[in-house]
Symmetry: C2
Subunit: 473 residues, 2 copies
């Protein structure tokens, strides 16, 4: 009856395939996982949304077509119109009450830096008393790594996407260890912030104006061929950026002393370029916003308490769940007990298809975030399962220059249960500690379930059904 | 009789293993190739040399233990004591008569640059008349990429190996295209060399003296984790070096105009760092020289006509054969017919375990030299077959940080027939052309056969035999 013998295709469940293997029966294994619990109905609705395919194509095309040019550097008071007493922070909206240690620490440091409190106690009292206004960076066209706290006197990179006519901003990177974004607020932190506003910011502004727009996306393309993934590894991007602007820095009229100090500060901080990668990624993901029916994630951001995502088809609405503690490597004597839950807007890199999604381009990163080289390769491969496109600009050499997996699709996440892979720094959970490590983390699955439910509610079939007269009963 | 069934190990010949495979018999394949023709007797003698194992261990230990610090920059007249009318060149010894187009072109350019001839005709006439002295860079503790022509007024990097108390020197990299080292000698070439001697060299000297010794080996370690292999790809090494010295350049008293020009020149030439990698590699391989009985290659160098190698156990003797034309990718309208045979001392990188031996660290290089990413990975894997050690300093992330294959063993090359893999630039064969491409090349096999014969002649058994009285008529 069966001339060529039976052919066995095993989907998902390994037990069956293993048993056949043991009997020397050839088995073709197909990776398959059950959809996330409780998503079946919403998945059916959203997948059945007739707008979806075109909407996603529109959104992802915009995401990969975006450009990113550094056009200016200036204080947040000017470039974002940020007013005294208002602070931006990473992640979805948050109040002092629910803020974690590092977020509180960073806010305290920003109060001291702005001269809004004389000491830590006064700063905490005023913050607890609601005297400061807290708003997400994302609500102001900005992104901030870790706590992401921005105050009016802090200088910001301003990037422009000429293709879509958008801008995005990000603060300047302070370095590692005891720094504001990791929740430290000691005198050396505030002193460094003062120097950054007095010297670093103006010097970079002079360099950028003398240079003309700096093509940040082109540097990201290069760094991915140079062992960086753009989130936790910016070791190539940073010297490439310095090389790009240093002659202009010299020529822009900044004093020799300041030029040398700025060159040492930028060159001495392998993460400096992260704060340019992030707004470049925000320009890409913002370009994909607000396409009705599109199921593409446009932001993943954490405030140290909540992990939030935004999705193209649902606009500015946040879907949030509890931020998880990253799994990684710890500095010095720190360990998992010292770790704060996941924090920062830097997951915008993964949202745009790099960072954890481009780990195959950065195998050396396992020395920083933990794991084996094979895990780095596997992480990127796995992300192709939940994304809609392969970046034409960001190729991974070791994968034969295949483009990075780009454009997280909520339906694919729900259908496969595979969660986005995020590389991240780990902040100490006690305010004032600073960085304690770096590692890997994923979003809480619930945020995708909620986003899917919202998308289902907006699908034409669902809208029609809800508007239909209740003829029965 | 055979309780567990037969186990088949197939060495080399695939036909037999394939046949068993087809019958579903498990076969363990062992790569095996016949030794190079005519090497069997010498191989037996050299492998039987009782000094060999210890000698090789000594030589390779020194090679990997070497350090490399940039300590000064100065004119060849000073740092090498090079006299007017003497020119260094790449590869083994050569005279004008046998010199190829690009070597002649570079010598003509150097004559014009030194004011030893008023025009090209006069330069050629004087060179043909034997008025200039030609000596290999390698005979003066130096290395030069491509034609490698060094004249007394050219400025050189001076590197020091404090572990073995040695120094090595290399000229400054001119950039790509129409440049002296590729045999071009037009006015723009000579003009650039004048600027390099008047501005670039002194500025770099000022920066290095202000900075103090620059750890070049540490940068090589980093670049190998950033997609460079250190021969044809120095895209990370160059900005890392610029970052290291730029603040000191600014502070060293060089004018703002010159600092900016130097920063742009260095930063605008992705190969600039090659001329620091090469002397660092020469320090490593020189440390392995002159160990009696050691079969480790200490130099591979090409003058555009001959390919030469030197071996630890045979001292400064060159074993030469005809240089082959590289196989690669061509620039613009150039093609294989325009290519000169292999030229340059830059194969010192492969001799020290990087360059073509580290291609797995630099998969993106296939876009420059041709081939597929898998070829780059395979090249490094293959080089483990002919080397004695894995570099403790130079890890390849994608191979789980395995050290690069280091210390080419003449006996392993002869035994396997596997030739060292070299990445290289391709010079136009007509004097004055410049670079026409980049590609891959191997040494002519005969140089290893000759080196093996010489090693056999020096083996104690052979020496004793030759000294024994001829008792049997």
């Amino acid at each position: 009856m069966l001339e060529a013998g039976p052919r066995v295709v095993a989907a998902g469940v390994d037990l069956f395939a293993d048993a056949l293997d043991a009997q020397a029966v050839p088995v073709t294994r197909v990776e398959w996982r059950p959809p996330m619990d409780g998503t079946a109905d919403d998945l059916a609705t959203v997948v059945g949304d007739p707008r979806r395919a075109t909407a996603n194509e529109t959104a992802v095309s915009r995401m990969v077509a975006s450009e990113a040019r550094l056009v200016d550097v200036g204080p947040a008071s000017e470039v974002l119109g940020l007013e005294r007493g208002t602070f931006l922070h990473a992640g979805p909206p948050l109040d002092w009450e629910r803020a974690s240690g590092p977020m509180r620490g960073a806010l305290v440091g920003a109060m001291l830096f702005e001269g809004l409190a004389a000491d830590v106690d006064e700063a905490e009292r005023r913050l607890a008393g609601g005297e400061a206004t807290l708003e997400p960076c994302h609500h102001h066209g900005a992104v901030g790594p870790m706590a992401g706290v921005v105050s009016p006197s802090m200088w910001m990179f301003v990037l422009e996407d000429p293709v879509h006519g958008r801008t995005a901003a990000c603060s300047l990177n302070e370095g590692l260890g005891k720094v504001l974004r990791y929740g430290a607020f000691g005198p050396e932190v505030v002193e460094r912030l003062r120097w950054m506003s007095a010297v670093l910011g103006p010097a970079l502004a002079g360099a950028v104006r003398h240079h003309g727009p700096v093509d940040v996306k082109a540097i990201v393309t290069q760094m991915l061929q140079m062992g960086d993934e753009g989130h936790n590894r910016n070791r190539a991007g940073t010297p490439l950026f310095l090389r790009e602007i240093v002659a202009d820095l010299v020529e822009s009229g900044t004093s020799t002393t300041d030029v040398a100090e700025v060159a040492r500060f930028v060159g001495g901080n392998d993460h400096f370029f992260l704060n340019l990668v992030m707004p470049a990624c925000k320009l890409a993901t913002d370009a994909a916003r607000d396409v009705p029916g599109a199921t593409v994630v446009t932001a993943m951001a954490r405030n140290g308490t909540d992990f939030g995502i935004q999705v193209s088809g649902t606009g500015d609405r946040w879907f949030t769940g509890p931020a998880e503690v990253p799994d990684g490597l710890y500095l010095g004597g720190y360990g998992p007990d010292d770790a704060n839950p996941d924090i920062g807007d830097s997951a915008i890199t993964e949202t745009a298809g790099i960072g954890g999604f481009a780990m195959a381009a950065a195998p050396a990163i396992v020395r920083f975030v933990g794991g084996e080289v094979a895990d780095a390769l596997a992480a990127t491969q796995r992300m192709y399962e939940i994304t809609l496109a392969e970046s034409p600009a960001f190729g991974v050499p070791v994968l034969g220059f295949r483009g990075t997996p780009t454009g997280i699709d909520v339906t694919r996440v729900a259908r496969t249960g595979i969660l986005p892979q995020i590389n991240t720094g780990i902040a100490g959970r006690v305010a004032g500690t600073g960085q304690v490590g770096a590692g890997l983390v994923t979003p809480p699955p619930g945020v995708f379930r909620e986003a899917l439910a919202a998308l289902a509610g907006l699908a034409p079939q669902a809208v029609l059904a809800s508007q239909a007269p209740a003829v029965r009963g």
